[in-house]
Point group: C2
Chain length 342, copies 2
């Protein structure tokens, strides 16, 4: 049963273990710096399907299937799936998991989804409601551009602040069972508030999301009494180049110097010098793939002992932008510890 | 800490109290059988705003505000808001709650949202992570028709199986604090699986959702060992006239006779003889309004002692329907007991 440290952070009474991850990446991601870490890379953006939405759905289905085989947990022992994505009505998750035969809790947190699903999953396990929870999310460059921006066929020029939606699906198996002396575990959960500082430019989501990241990070440090130095790495989801700089600067004003410890998944998944992604990666799969493919490996090898993982989400819709609204944002942070032997 | 009865149902160790509800309804709902039970009825579908989406957003904001004043819980003591809606990217919830200053967990369960949010909220409280959780959802006939079906201006004729999306917002305050001998409480949570029996007609969502309702209901009775007779009322979310009949018939095949105990919110919120809603009401606000305005009153007056509340959701999108997909569905059930004195 979790111990509440403050209004935003809870400390799990028993650690919740991350026993397995799975990742399926698009071809551009497969050409990037993390290429060797993905479970599989799809070369065709349609993934053999007739639409990008169906391709994304298939990625969810296959990531979930891979997660089950890698974790070795029988389906009958998975108590909940917590999943969501960017598509209208979260159809990639709902269609991708419709044959799972497991109770499903659908979530919407835009690109913070992996953070939200792991937060809920961790609390369900620590609360005694589940032994194993699967957390899954996805995004697809083509389905996201089509839905949120312009038809790809137009060849619209991207602004320098724009980010590139990551194609892929990531899945995490959380479990009650593990060994605190040698496994990877979630210890704290800091749930974000919706923050809106009035940014309206849907091509500058890093700037829109940075204040939410600052709010959640500051809350986490205040609530736990930890300093940024406690962590080997503080990792935001998809602030990109623009948002990361804002986050660092604003954190300094809050009295926390994160510079030496901080990076963003949007700057890790692509090589900005070679891959023409402008301000970096974004999308639910951005933080999901970086975590499931790369961070999990570093935690497993003991190269990272303490990770603060904080996916970030911009809660806009095309309709809200067309109606002149701002971009409310959110960030959910998880403190993850590894006692794996390096 | 919850006790797991089986793969789908948990029994809460300590009851979670429903200490307050709030409801804002549209004008058509205000002319229906429940007219006298809503906290307020809006006469103008735009609610003084410039778009239906902004009107729905305002309903969320006002329902939340009303919930806080009715419950008497200070904002600083609300640990989480769990909320979602039907609009793309759940913007009614996200914009409506952006100034709440409370951690937010966004959910997507289509019209099952009130069931999902109350399920998560109940587990967060029983798990020791929260003292108070606010659960909120909304829908709006005009924004839903615009997004899911046809522009209202076309005056498209509706099919006999079609349902009428309820305009409104409902909010529930869950709390750890209460008296089991005289209050209203959630005792069990049965979380639904995604069920898809191949229905493709987006104008017949009752038929699409009925199998999900049957699956969750059967699981609930199997898991708890209870028979339908245990409940004063078994209440599905928005199966409407078509889905309700299918549900009754299929439940009989499963070995459970629910006929005398069963009703559907979609048949309660409107008068089908007088209000021209065809198969009944639907939308997130359908089950939310019926519960928050009417059922809560019956529980409070002790007229209902045991309620099985099961909002139902059709997990389609316009894109999935246009691409020839079926309609996967889900239903989440909560067992609610009242020891209020009649």
């Amino acid at each position: 049963m979790g111990k509440r440290l403050s209004s935003q952070t809870i400390k799990l009474d028993s650690p919740v273990y991350i026993i397995s991850t799975a990742s399926i990446a698009g071809s551009k991601e497969g050409e990037g710096p993390l290429s060797s870490f993905f479970d599989s890379v799809i070369q065709d953006p349609l993934f053999g399907e007739k639409s990008w939405e169906k391709a994304e759905t298939k990625m969810v289905r296959e990531a979930y299937s891979k997660l089950i085989s890698k974790s070795g947990i029988p389906v009958s022992n998975i108590n909940y799936i917590v999943a969501g994505d960017l598509l209208n009505q979260c159809t990639a998750s709902n269609f991708g998991l419709k044959d799972s035969d497991v109770p499903v809790l659908g979530v919407y947190g835009a690109c913070s989804t992996m953070g939200e699903s792991m937060s809920i999953g961790a609390m369900l396990i620590d609360g005694g409601f589940a032994e194993n929870v699967a957390c899954i999310t996805s995004s697809h460059f083509c389905s996201a551009e089509k839905q949120f921006r312009y038809p790809l066929e137009l060849g619209t020029q991207r602004t320098p602040n724009a980010q590139w939606t990551v194609t892929g699906a990531g899945a995490v198996m959380l479990s009650k069972a593990g060994d605190p002396t040698k496994d990877i575990m979630i210890t704290h959960v800091t749930t974000g508030k919706i923050i809106d500082k009035g940014i309206k430019d849907a091509n500058n989501m890093g700037a829109a999301m940075a204040p939410a990241a600052v709010d959640t990070l500051s809350a986490h440090f205040r609530d736990t009494g930890r300093q940024p130095d406690f962590y080997d790495l503080i990792l935001s989801g998809d602030l990109g180049y623009v948002g990361k700089n804002i986050c660092e600067e604003f954190m300094e004003k809050e009295g926390f110097d994160i510079k030496g410890k901080y990076n963003d998944c949007g700057l890790i998944i692509f090589d900005r010098d070679k891959q023409d992604v402008h301000a970096g990666g974004s999308g639910c799969a951005c933080s999901a793939l970086v975590f499931c493919a790369y961070m999990y490996k570093l935690l497993k090898e003991g190269q990272i002992k303490n990770l603060l993982f904080m996916p970030t989400g911009a809660l806009l819709s095309p309709t809200s932008s067309q109606q002149g609204e701002t971009i409310p944002s959110i960030a959910h942070a998880l403190s993850i510890a590894s006692n794996c032997i390096s």
